[in-house]
């Protein structure tokens, strides 16, 4: 496997959807190509850091305010009939 082919398969590899043969070839490539190993490792870290980041969490007070606004509007909609959304 060449570096360009590794890059093509990187997303499938990280998502765990590669077939066994390609996975072996890719991991073999990673065992000797340091640059691709670093790209793979840091891409995986990128995903994990974003996934665990709690970026844009909804604060509880705002959350309940939004929820009650939504439910009030839903009830108004129910009273007025289906044309009002």
């Amino acid at each position: 496997m060449k570096c360009a082919e590794f890059l093509q398969e990187l997303t499938n590899y990280l998502d765990g959807v590669l077939d066994d043969k390609t996975k072996v070839e890719l991991e073999n490539h990673l065992s000797w190509c340091h640059n691709c190993y670093v790209v793979c490792d840091t891409t995986k870290k990128t995903i994990e850091i974003y996934r665990d980041s709690q970026l844009y969490e909804l604060p509880e007070d705002l959350r309940s305010r939004l929820r009650s606004a939504i439910m009030t509007k839903c009830q108004q909609h129910k009273k007025r009939g289906p044309q009002s959304v």
Binding site: L7, L10, G16, E27, I49, R51, Q54, L58, I70, K78
Partner: protein, 219 residues
């Protein structure tokens, strides 16, 4: 090195029970659906609009639309995927209103393959996120992802932050599976490239050594 693990949003069968009850007019079941997904919708909306007030509006509008159109929901897909599709459309509309000088669509951003080649190969320090305080890290992550075009950003957020499958992401964004995969790869590589500036090993980046004597009161 193995595959990344996805978040699981919640059991699908429970979701379907709630949706069916809500369709019969049980508002408390719908409220439970709001409770279950409001945080996800808010995150997605803020990632797309990059604006908190717009994100709040999107949460309200998306749930209200879902409520008003519940009878049309066919139950062939997950309610959550259907809701995300409504929320993404609402968020893109907000973005278009805010940035009228640019046409905002998920079909833009088609560039040559070259833009996805990694430019920076330097390795990162172990646990790079620990070099920063929580608020600094959030700032870095937020600034970095905001630099991506909306089409890449949205695919990355749905797939990697919210844990939708490739097929669900494609359905929610009305894109083909290969289009989702190609954008996801480019989004991941671009984010990796940009984060390298903060996280790479030696002293080349902007990373700071934080200790109690640094005297940095800027938090």
């Amino acid at each position: 090195m193995g595959a990344i693990q996805n978040k699981v949003v919640g059991p699908v069968s429970e979701e379907l029970t709630l949706v069916q009850a809500a369709k019969r007019g049980d508002d408390s079941a719908f409220e439970e659906l709001v409770r279950r997904y409001d945080r996800n919708v808010f995150r997605i909306a803020q990632h797309i609009t990059q604006n908190r007030e717009d994100a709040e509006d999107v949460v309200q509008e998306a749930f209200l639309k879902a409520y008003g159109n519940l009878a049309q929901f066919q139950e062939q897909s997950k309610f959550y995927t259907w809701l995300v599709r409504i929320a993404v459309n609402e968020a893109l509309m907000k973005l278009r209103r805010r940035k009228p000088e640019r046409t905002v669509s998920l079909d833009e951003d088609i560039k040559t393959e070259e833009d996805s080649l990694p430019r920076e190969i330097a390795d990162w320090s172990p646990n790079p996120e620990q070099q920063y305080t929580q608020s600094e890290l959030r700032e870095i992550l937020s600034k970095t992802i905001q630099g991506l075009p909306p089409g890449f950003r949205t695919v990355f957020v749905l797939r990697d932050v919210e844990g939708l499958s490739t097929e669900e992401t494609a359905a929610a964004l009305e894109l083909s599976v290969p289009a989702v995969k190609s954008r996801l790869l480019r989004a991941r590589l671009q984010l990796r490239d940009r984060l390298g500036k903060y996280f790479q090993k030696s002293g080349n980046g902007n990373s700071k050594n934080r200790d109690a004597t640094s005297g940095d009161g800027n938090q």
